[in-house]
């Protein structure tokens, strides 16, 4: 598609609906819905982050200073639920909405009205979930894994939390259906499957995972609900049920869920690294197969979260070896990213800095994962700060870094303004250093035996906890700085106008439309030109 053609389009079809209600509440536009998702995710990131700050404040010193143990448990539980379902997942859906139709040359998402609904369930569900803080007995306090029997012994919150999870599930499933229908049905002519950007590929696979496991989670929490309110015995041994049954069902959902949060991040970095290495992604096809392999394996490894719960010996062995298998496709990915950078004409703009930090820090998180996959030693690590360190290395320096990097990478396209490279680099170094101060000491705390989810601890853990808290406050503050950068970029303060191409080495359809992207793109169903694409596999 030529620039001239797009410019006329811009002129003809750039009529945004007037008024707040029509523009945002009733929108069917994938870009507006993407923006809503991203703003919502950022709001939840601040909310969940604020809870984390209170946690780190309480843990700054041994002893109880600021919060009571029960409220502390509410904080850890809600921090996780909000970050997983309110921040990370909606942020990736926001990216999917904004970028997938543009990347494959589609006029919009396949089912635009349903797309609106997928988003507009979220604010309601989270208001309901957050309101449990003000109820008798407070918010859910049994951990985000909601294990019975503990979770059944809480206050009124259970019903609200369960229904909120149902609503989030409905939202996620509709969002995922939309992604699949868009990718399978809306690709422009000549946009073959093996020409799709890797971000599109990883989201396609993520969407399958979502549709497969969100209903299972819904079923699990429904059983909690009926056990608590209607006298069923699913998780009650006296009635022939088993509390461990919940753990099996939960982790059958929960393990694919962690890949739901990391695969889109793999996709984003697979866009960024080739752009700034000025080389095509190394091993494109193997990246696709590796993503699919990771997704497949995610369904058959769930019980590695439960090694210490008491499983038959054969089960321990099977889940240990199956889990280790995951490191093969993940290793393929890490080596491919490194090989893409090898002998590339690299420059280090802000998105690339995040990408390099991701490759290193995510690999550390992967290695600690491999350590815990070894069943006998996991008996030592289980439920200690070691696991807290592990999943924050993969979720913060994996998923959250991807979201931040993606914002820096695409915000010039979204707003038409180039963010301040100087502020972006300050944000990066500030975050990259503080995150290690925050989470690295937690490895040592865990190995020394400090359990997770406790408001108080023995004095020998004091120093590392203090360091961790200092890192935590610094990291939290850095993200406030990030919001300032984002707002300045949107408002065009201290920024320059972005070119259409934005990045010298960028390839893919999104770089051949104007910046900011017009309200409607690609209405003609015109064929995609191979020379605009990053990957034209001859496979």
């Amino acid at each position: 598609m030529s620039h001239a053609a797009v410019a006329t389009h811009d002129h003809d079809h750039d009529h945004k609906p007037k008024g707040f209600v029509k523009r945002w509440l009733m929108t069917t536009n994938h870009k507006d819905i993407g923006t809503l998702y991203l703003i919502f995710a950022l709001t939840m990131f601040i909310f969940g982050g604020a809870l984390a700050m209170i946690i780190r404040l309480e843990l700054f010193q041994p002893g109880l200073q600021f919060v009571q143990p029960d409220f502390f448990n509410q904080l850890t539980t809600m921090h996780a639920l909000i970050m997983v379902f309110g921040a990370v997942m909606p942020a990736f859906v926001g990216f999917a909405n904004w970028m997938i139709p543009i990347m494959i040359g589609a006029p919009d998402m396949a089912l635009p009205r349903m797309n609106n609904w997928s988003f507009w369930i979220l604010p309601f569900a989270f208001t309901m979930l957050a309101s449990t803080f003000f109820m008798d007995g407070g918010a859910p306090a049994a951990g985000w894994t909601l294990y019975p029997p503990l979770v059944l012994q809480g206050g009124q919150n259970l019903a609200y939390a369960v229904f909120a999870i149902h609503m989030l599930g409905i939202s996620s499933i509709m969002g995922a259906i939309n992604v699949i229908a868009t990718i399978m049905n809306m690709r422009a002519p000549n946009m073959g499957y093996l020409k799709m950007p890797l971000f599109v590929w990883t989201w396609l696979i993520t969407a399958f995972l979502l549709i497969a496991v969100m209903p299972v989670f819904a079923g699990a929490v429904t059983m909690l609900l009926t056990d608590h309110y209607f006298g069923t015995s699913f998780f009650n041994a006296a009635g022939g049920g088993d509390p461990v049954l919940f753990q099996h069902i939960f982790w059958f959902f929960g393990h694919p869920e962690v890949y739901i949060m990391i695969l889109p991040s793999f996709g984003i970095f697979s866009e960024i690294i080739p752009t700034f290495a000025r080389k095509p992604l190394f091993g494109y096809v193997s990246m696709v197969y590796a993503s699919a392999a990771i997704a497949f394996l995610s369904f058959i490894v769930w019980a590695h979260h439960m090694f210490s719960v008491g499983m038959p010996f054969g089960g321990e062995l099977y889940f240990m070896y199956a889990t280790m298998l995951i490191s093969i496709p993940t290793g393929v990915k890490v080596f491919n990213w490194v090989s893409t950078m090898w002998k590339g004409a690299m420059t280090f703009e802000t998105p690339m800095l995040w990408a390099i930090a991701f490759v290193i820090l995510f690999t550390i998180g992967g290695f600690s994962g491999l350590m815990m996959a070894i069943a006998p030693v996991d008996f030592q690590y289980h439920d200690t700060y070691f696991i807290v360190a592990h999943f924050h290395y993969v979720l913060v320096s994996g998923s959250v870094f991807a979201i931040i990097a993606g914002v820096y990478y695409w915000i010039p396209k979204w707003t038409g303004n180039m963010y301040s490279e100087r502020l972006g680099k300050i944000h990066f170094w500030w975050s990259a250093i503080s995150i290690n101060v925050l989470f690295f000491p937690q490895h040592f705390l865990g190995l020394a035996g400090m359990p997770r989810r406790i408001p108080d601890y023995s004095t020998q853990f004091a120093e590392f906890n203090m360091w961790s808290s200092i890192g935590g406050f610094a990291f939290g503050l850095a993200q406030i700085f990030f919001i300032i950068i984002v707002i300045r970029t949107i408002k065009g303060k201290g920024t320059t106008k972005a070119t259409d191409r934005v990045w010298e080495g960028a390839k893919g359809l999104e770089w051949f439309i104007p910046s900011p992207a017009p309200h409607h793109t690609f209405q003609d169903g015109e064929a995609v030109k191979d020379e605009q694409l990053a990957h034209v596999s001859t496979h």
Binding site: P107, L111, I121, A125, F163, N185, V216, S233, A238, G240
Partner: protein, 290 residues
């Protein structure tokens, strides 16, 4: 935008109904949760209000889509999107039922035998539940919900199996008639399908009454009652929904909707109906017979 051009993918400009749906959903959820937590409330008023809003939303939303469809706003590509949407929605439903079937499998093959002393459950059994045999059907070593009897699979459940199988056949005949353009025949066989579905639901209610009043089999009858009523109950809800959907397409047929070459709404309902049918077969085998 002109609404007769069929060459462009139709992207609606405004979505009025989703926000109504979200409000309805929230009212339902808050109403139900408040009711469950209340010790005095007798009617979940807010929940019913939420249901009403959701029904209003569904009618409004579908009316809009049906109108657009009848005005030929949708091209073949839109049709494909709808098909994919329905297929993956049904897949999500399959996984929801898989969750409950999986739970049934686990308690029957794992946790109940362990409670009875098998495998690593030796001490659990001897120290906590001495004398418990761990044989299915069971309401657990605590005899939760008291003694109960089972539904005989070869009476009402067998009748229901035949009814549902027959309804799948009548629906397929209706579908073939639609493709052949024999509209009256379609309506006749659709009505037959709805009647068979309604009969199924009638017998299902009968069975529940028998279970509660004569067999002492309730939702509270330990793990057997839990799995039995949750599986058959969720299935019954899906049959109810399917029967409503069938009624809607019957009315649409009478009003002259659907063409031999294009009738996605009809097909979507048919897929859904066959899906609840297959789930029933699973129930009949794994819940009633084995």
């Amino acid at each position: 935008m002109s609404n007769t051009s069929n060459d462009q993918y139709y992207v609606p400009h405004l979505a009025r109904w989703p926000i109504v749906g979200s409000i309805g959903m929230t009212l339902t959820a808050v109403g139900a949760a408040t009711f469950m937590n209340s010790e005095t409330a007798t009617t979940p008023v807010l929940m019913y209000l939420g249901f009403a809003v959701i029904i209003f939303m569904v009618f409004g939303w579908f009316a809009e889509v049906i109108k657009e469809s009848e005005n030929n706003v949708y091209n073949a590509q839109v049709d494909t999107s709808f098909r994919m949407g329905m297929v993956w929605f049904i897949f999500s439903e399959v996984m929801f039922f898989a969750c409950f079937f999986g739970a049934l499998w686990y308690v029957r093959n794992m946790s109940v035998p362990w409670l009875g002393g098998e495998g690593t459950g030796l001490f659990t059994n001897s120290e906590l539940w001495a004398g418990y045999e761990g044989v299915w059907p069971t309401n657990g070593p605590g005899d939760i919900g008291g003694k109960f009897e089972l539904i005989d699979p070869y009476h009402l459940p067998l009748v229901n199996t035949i009814l549902l199988m027959a309804s799948s056949i009548t629906l397929t005949i209706a579908h073939h008639a639609l493709v052949d353009g024999a509209r009256k025949k379609v309506i006749g066989w659709l009505i037959a399908t709805v009647v068979l579905g309604a009969a199924f639901l009638f017998f299902q209610v009968e069975e529940y009454i028998e279970a509660y009043q004569h067999l002492d089999l309730t939702l509270r009858s330990g793990i057997y009652g839990s799995t039995f009523f949750m599986l058959t109950g969720f299935h019954g809800m899906h049959v109810t929904l399917g029967a409503i959907m069938l009624t809607v397409i019957t009315i649409r047929m009478i009003r002259g909707h659907f063409k031999p070459e294009s009738h996605f709404g009809f097909e979507a309902v048919a897929w859904y109906w066959h899906f609840v049918d297959v789930v029933w077969l699973g129930l009949f085998i794994f819940v009633y017979i084995i």
